[in-house]
Symmetry: C2
Subunit: 92 residues, 2 copies
């Protein structure tokens, strides 16, 4: 099985993550997983939508998964954070 | 076909939207669609995750769709906004 290609979406401009995905595809990857947590989730959706509109019109969305991760704050308290993973694939 | 039950997620606290979903389910709905645009997308995911963790452990996520909507600003210019719809269903 091929190594999973992951783009982790954070607080940078959406275009940075679009470029990261395109770089994976251009270097031969068939699939890329876009992951985000908390407020970055909407930016992960923006990334996929911008790719579809501007760069790869036939981009396939193979799966969208949501979940929860427990994170520890610096003070030791725990907090639940929503997560999302979007699996996208190059058109064949 | 039954009327579609929709909860539109905006800027209110997550618990408001959880209560809206539970009200639909308690009044007989089998499925509820949670819709959000832009930054509210992460709150839509929070809504589903909180429902799963706290209220309906067997909640089924039947579909997650993402898309783009073109909106007009007050000055007449157009802007693309990402959208998400999550279709959830009561466990049988």
């Amino acid at each position: 099985m091929a190594e999973e290609k992951v783009v982790l979406v954070g607080r940078k401009p959406v275009m940075n993550y679009v470029m990261a995905c395109l770089t994976f595809f251009n270097s031969g990857a068939d699939e890329v997983t876009i992951k985000a947590r908390g407020r970055a989730i909407s930016r992960a959706v923006d990334t996929v939508e911008l790719m579809r509109k501007a760069f790869m019109k036939d981009l396939e969305i193979k799966d969208i998964r949501i979940g929860t991760e427990q994170m520890e704050r610096p003070d030791g308290s725990k907090v639940n954070v929503s997560t999302m993973e979007i699996l996208i694939a190059k058109p064949k």
